[in-house]
Symmetry: D2
Subunit: 321 residues, 4 copies
């Protein structure tokens, strides 16, 4: 696939895949690969809203609107040996921005080029002010989503109940994301490779990099309890909320997880809330997108024995991949 | 010490300790040890605001207002073999409450008694609706604070720049908390033992339990950059923010940490923001207290070599303990 | 026009009008006129998202993307002699809802039919619990918007920088709303007649009623300072923000108004901020839609003499209407 | 009274008054009268937290903790013919600040001296950048509160359920504020005269001025439904909420008013919510204090006939004044 789109929704699929059959995609970085030096100008090479190009949409054969799309990420490989990060005026958690303006002078712009070390385990960059920096390489997709519900068309920078620009570091290799299909075929969009990112994506970008990703999709039955994305790894299950203020995203995620745990474990909402309260993690994705994101997760090992999640889809996909 | 207080500030010290000399305290659970069965009535045995009894205040010899108090927690031992947790009407993240009311019917009240297993590694409880629950024992102090600035007197359930009811699971054995002394002697208050708690303390209580805790204090010079609590473990440094909405607590914590990293590592604010953005964790403490709490942390191993934090106080106290 | 749409964006215009030429539209109520008795079931007669039908889109001849559309409401007449209001489970400021969930029992549903009195000045309804209620008739359009920027398609219940479901009681007869055209023709959508509404639309609906409205459009040059909707009456100018949390909507609206006042009155941002701080009103539209809305307004009579707003469009349209 | 205090709570009364007997107080401006020219330096003449000096506490004879204190403001006269306003670094809705920090350059500081015109109806100031400004004189007290509940001591800049630094323009002559007494005598504090202020006190200060105020107190029976301040004028009743984010203050205020209207008018919560939804105003006080404030009000003329509020205290005090 050589073309990219900048919206969720409104496109005919560019590719159709079969359930259970792994396939590969190339995804561009959020600047479409055009920001290549510290002298580069992000807002000129990738003017808003031509940021965050997405690969897709990819249709899954047979899935009907209302059913659940399972997206299992098998492996994420860097497609280039460098990534890029920026700080920009009028953007980021610690700057006034379009959704939270102020009257102070805008902060300046700066660009970092991070090189992937030969061992593929870390990234490093010089700094203008002091010693060079080095961080681990922990790739994930910032953006994985489907065509939104009810015919909405959203920019690729937006997260929501359709997934989208979640920016959750959990979304790396070995993870399964569950999204409700809003149209027949589900229409999956994927992109926004992050070579590493801390919680909240505070400055506004991760280390943005192109990825060659192998993934596999599956089709699961409709689930009346699932109205926000779910996520599963070998160790954890979780529910993702997207909202502002941040506590509302946490409310969505934790209430959704409590209902899921109650259902899967045969507990009432009080006992499920008690369990989740004592063992959950609240993992903040981004604090800079149009909506903030949080995943509320619990370790599967601490849930009552015998609980099954999503019909065992994660284990099945993990084995098949 | 046999008595407890329910405020930060306004008391003469009940004990004075010397810097670097470990000492022990007993702390009651948040219900003053009076909620002992699933038939108990939390609001009768511990009516608001007679909740969250604190041990202290404990004065540190020689520390002056404006200097930094280092509180290093050496070891937390359960003082009883059970803890207690509740869900109550008009309290918790997923219920209307005094700060966020609604007009729905109030949720009912329920109490769980969690037994500490003989191996001391986990806690278990029966449920009313299904299988019993089991969770790990990971004790910490929900509440560690000093007399507030400017003569304020706050209830023991409140967090703030004086520390207080932070409910951060990081605050267990091996952790150092740095608090600005607002009065000579600093006047430390400690309590609110939690046998385990997930992020956010969603239902409103952790597994609340009495603790026998050994700790050691130290006196550090004033630090003009430090206006919110700092925290340090062997692996991480962090800054704690307390605010509503939750994103404002994240702003306080991350801006404070970026300034600290810049200062300690010889970076400007742009390079420090870049580094923190890619490697930080945002650890949510509580989402139910008068202010929400977040710690923004980074691994020390990923900071430039040679950086020193708080004059090496943590390592010194850790070795001495 | 007999058909309605449920989105902003994505439609060919159903009508084209000329600048300065008044025209009339009929707009349905938010339940498409189907909720006609207190026994009616809102979620059956108007299932989400088939709520809030809009009339349009209406193209303005000659307006180009980037220019400003002036929408001057000349007169709003009730198209029926009754309106309808509801309280529903999982909706409203004082109930858990999709963006702010809880685990309490859902509130029940209730419907009120409000009759317009013969003098056309007030509305009344019986109650189930006590005396009948009577309120003034002060009609406005809850929803006035254009096709969103950058090709987005949004549900008719959403407000934003394209206008939309603002639910601001200012939007009645005699008011001019300024919206940036994102497409050639601007593509205006209008609907959601409210016979009266308090600030915040707390329960989730106003007194919803069909309207026969006369309005007139105009085309104004692009304005680089205007990135959110502006509003003008004979007495006031204002800027509208849409965001969550509510303080961010207030930041958008007040920062936008300060920049406008500075520009129109020849003041720097400090002096303009000083003036606006002492005389502004913050008028809350809704607290129940996907984004909350606020208009920050100032009385024109308190601005320095000689200031002109939007090239005098409001006065011109008012005279012409 | 010649002395001032900077806290709510923790003081012996400096004066005791009798119910129903008018008396006068002088209140300083928030800078203690020390900021007298545009060259003045606010943070030097009135360093935090020595801002917002309060007159009091004033005890009411006979009132017991748990009863209601009615504070009826009879008349507010300017004690000087000038007021002062500022914009400061790290303060205000449109600047990063201690509770909502950023990493941008701090805004500069500026001071305006506003002169009261001889007719006493307006204030004017020159500007640095353009024409002079003129605004109406509409005096009120930004701060009216009692000793907080449960022994807390709060700085004079804080609002809460004890009243305090509300910054609500309603609090002028002819208004009655109802506050729950938390201690015998109630211990009233008053100050922070504002010669005029827009909604939200956006820049961080109103036009701050010293006042000579005549007021009268009364003692009302305990009211189990009243857990936040109530307010009454000849035309309106309202409930005041203080919280962050701003929507939570609106939730407190509107839920409280709905419960009050239901009780006073013989309506159930549904019918009362319906009525309030269609006729309420949400009046924003401040958006810059530690908690934001909102009053939710309804016109008494639109409530069912025969409803009585607070036993008729307002009318009684108004007549007596």
């Amino acid at each position: 696939m050589s073309d990219y789109v900048f919206h969720f929704g409104g496109h005919a699929p560019v590719r159709t895949v079969e359930a259970g059959v792994p396939f590969s995609v190339f995804t561009e970085d959020c600047f479409s690969g055009k920001l290549t030096s510290t002298d580069g100008e992000p807002r000129i090479v990738a003017p808003y809203p031509r940021v965050n190009p997405l690969t897709g949409p990819i249709a899954l054969t047979g899935i009907k609107a209302g059913e659940i799309l399972a997206v299992h990420l098998i492996e994420l490989k860097p497609a280039r040996n460098w990534g890029v990060a920026t700080i920009s005026p009028n953007f980021g958690l610690l700057s006034g921005n379009r959704g939270n303006p102020n009257l102070q002078a805008e902060q300046a712009e700066r660009v970092w080029i991070w090189k992937l070390e030969e061992d593929g385990k870390s990234l490093s960059t010089p700094t203008l002010s002091g010693p060079p920096l080095s961080v681990p390489f922990r790739p994930f997709h910032g953006t994985v989503g489907v065509a939104p519900a009810h015919g909405e068309v959203r920019l690729s920078v937006v997260p929501g109940d359709f997934g989208g620009n979640l920016d959750l570091p959990m979304l790396g290799g070995g993870t399964t994301l569950y999204l409700k299909a809003n149209v027949d075929g589900a229409d999956l969009y994927i992109g926004d490779g992050h070579f590493v990112q801390g919680d909240g994506e505070i400055a506004g970008t991760a280390i943005e990099g192109a990825l060659d990703t192998t993934l596999v999709l599956d089709r699961l039955p409709a689930d009346a309890l699932m109205d926000w994305p779910r996520i599963e790894t070998d160790a954890e299950i979780g529910v993702i909320g997207a909202a502002r203020p941040l506590e509302d995203a946490a409310r969505i995620a934790s209430a959704g997880l409590i209902r899921w745990v109650a259902d899967a474990c045969g507990l009432d909402l009080f006992d499920a809330q008690q369990l989740v309260t004592q063992i959950c993690r609240l993992k903040i994705g981004n604090l800079v997108n149009p909506l903030f994101t949080v995943a509320c997760t619990v370790p599967k090992a601490l849930l009552p024995a015998g609980a099954e999640f999503m019909g065992g889809a994660h284990a099945r996909l993990r084995a098949g991949g």
